[in-house]
Amino acid sequence: MKLTIKLIYFVIMIISFSVEATENAGWSKGELALLRLQSISNLPVLPADPTNKYADNPDAAKLGQKLFFDTRFSSNGKVACVSCHQVKKAFTDGLAKSKGIAQTSRTAPTVIGVAYSPWFFWDGRSDSLWSQALAPLESGVEHGANRSQIAKIIYNDSKYRKMYEEVFGALPDISDKKRFIENAAPLGIRKSDDDWYAMTAVDRKIITRIYVNIGKAIAAYERLLIPGPARFDKYVDALSKNEIKQASTFLSADEIAGLKLFNGKAMCVTCHQGPLFTHHGFHNTGVPDPASIRPKITLKFMAKKAKPSLDEGRFKGILIALKSEFNCLGEYSDAKNEDCAELKFANKKRDETLGAFKVPTLRNITQTAPYMHAGNLKNLAEVLQHYNLVPRAPIGHTDLLPIKLSDKELKQVEKFLHSLSSPLVTAPEFLLAPVVKL
C-alpha cells in the first residue's frame, strides 16, 4: 500500500468523523437535534379545541375537577372518572381490563397529555376530549349513569348548580317530572329509550345540552394534566447547554445506550415521536387478542358455537365517531366545518384500520402497567419481547418490523423507558378531590 493511498484513507476518516463529530457526550449533531425534539421543553402550547369553547375556561376546569372525582354520576354511586384514572397510577388503574360497574374490554389509558391528541379511546371512537368524557358516563360497564340523572344532579345540587351557571349560564327549569322523565336516555335499553323518546325533541335537547356541558367541563379539567420534565428531559436540556458533566447525572450508561437504541436500531421513535412519545395515530401491532385463544381441546359442536369476537379496533372506532351526535361536525360541537379535517378525512379503509389501536404516550410508562390496549402484557420486558418477535396479528395485519435486539439491548431500552417518569406540571390542588367553598 502506497503512502498516498494511506493518506487518502486518513483524510476520509477525518472527514467521516468530522461529519459525525461526537460533540456532546457521544451524540452527533443530528442525534442531538432529534433529542431536542423529544424533550418536554419542546412541547408546544396546548392546541385550542375548537369543538369546546369552554376548553380553557378556568371555572369550567374547576367544575370538571369536581365531576372527575365525584362518584354520584354512576348507577351504584361508587364509580367516578378517577376510579379508572387514578392519580397515583399516572391516571390509570393497573388493571388489564378496567372495572367500573362491570368489567370493560380494555385497559384504561392515561389521561396525562391526552389533550394533545386528535382522537380518544384506544380505537379513536371520539374526536374530542369532551365527547370522550361523555361516553363512560352512559356506558353500562363504566359509570352506568344516564344524561337525565346527570342533569338532575346538577340542577338539584346548589354547589354544582352555581358552578355550572357561572360557566354556562342559567340552567333551564327541568323540575317538571312529567316533562323530564327520570333516567330517560338513549342507551339502547328499552325502558330508558322509551322514556327518552316520550319526551319532546326540545326537552331531549335541553337535557343533552346539560350533559354535553358536563363533558366540556371535564375536558377543561383534563387539559390541565400535562407532564413535567423527567430525567430524560433534564439530560437533554443539560446536553443542549453543553453541560456534559451535569447531563451524566441524569441518565446512567445503560439508559443512554437504551435511548440510542430507541432512536436508532429499534426505531421506536418512528411512532413514539415528539415530546409526548406518540404520533397520536393508529397501528396494528398484532397484540394477542384473548378472544383469539381457543381452548386446546375443542369438541366439534363447541367449535361451531364458540365464535371469538376479535377486537376490530380503529375499524369500528372511526365508524362510531362518524355516526356520533357528539362529533366535531355535530350540533353540540362549537367547531366550524373547516376545523374538522381529522374527522372528514379519517381513514376508514378496512384493511388499513382493522385491529389498529392508538399509539400511546410513553411518558410515565413505568406507572401504567399492564400494557397494550388489551392489558395482556404484564411488564415492559414482555412488551419489548413482543416488538422483538412480532407475532402474527390475530386480526388484520401487523405494521411492525422485528426490532431484533439482543437480551442486553432489550434491557437497555427498558431501562431508558424508566427515565420518562415525572410529576405533572399541573398545580397540586388539581390532583385531588376538590374542596369547593361557596
Partner: protein, 144 residues
C-alpha cells in the same frame, strides 16, 4: 498489498460506509419537516403531473392540502379528469393515516385535501388519473 493490510483497510472501509449510513439515518430523523426537497413533477406515459403543498415545507403529522396540476405531454391543461389518491409506507406495509379527497379547481389544477404523513421514513403518494379513455398513474416519493 499484504494480507494484514487488506484486512485493515477493509475494516476501515466498512467503518466508513456504516458511518455515512448512520449519519444519513440520524439526519433523516433530526427534524419535523421533510428530509430532502422531494421531486414534485413526474412524467407518465400520458401526463405531466406536478404537486404543490399548500403548507411549506411539507409538514410531519399535520393534515394539509396539495394542489395537483395535470398537463398533457404537449402542455395542455387536463380538465375534467377523475383522480383518485392512495399512498402509504411500503416498508411498514400500511397506508396513509387519512383518506384524502380530490376535487377539481380548473385549468388542470386539482385540490387534494386531507393529506397527513404521521411518521418518519419513506412515504409514497399515488394518483390514478382517468380522462376519457386514458388511464394513468403517477407516484411521488416523500422522505421524512
Amino acid at each position: 498489498m499484504k494480507f494484514k493490510n487488506k484486512i485493515k483497510y477493509g475494516l476501515i472501509n466498512i467503518l466508513f460506509i456504516s458511518e455515512m449510513f448512520y449519519s444519513g439515518l440520524c439526519f433523516s430523523l433530526n427534524n419535523n419537516a421533510v428530509k430532502d426537497e422531494p421531486v414534485t413533477t413526474q412524467q407518465t406515459a400520458h401526463f405531466l403531473v406536478t404537486y404543490q403543498s399548500r403548507t411549506q415545507p411539507l409538514p410531519l403529522n399535520q393534515i394539509h392540502n396539495w394542489v395537483l396540476h395535470v398537463d398533457t405531454l404537449d402542455g395542455n391543461a387536463v380538465e375534467k379528469a377523475r383522480i383518485s389518491v392512495y399512498g402509504g409506507m411500503p416498508a411498514h406495509k400500511h397506508g396513509l393515516p387519512t383518506q384524502p379527497a380530490v376535487s377539481e379547481l380548473g385549468n388542470g389544477d386539482y385540490l387534494v385535501e386531507g393529506i397527513k404523513f404521521s411518521m418518519h421514513g419513506g412515504w409514497e403518494m399515488w394518483f390514478n388519473i382517468r380522462q376519457g379513455n386514458i388511464t394513468d398513474k403517477v407516484k411521488f416519493e416523500i422522505n421524512f
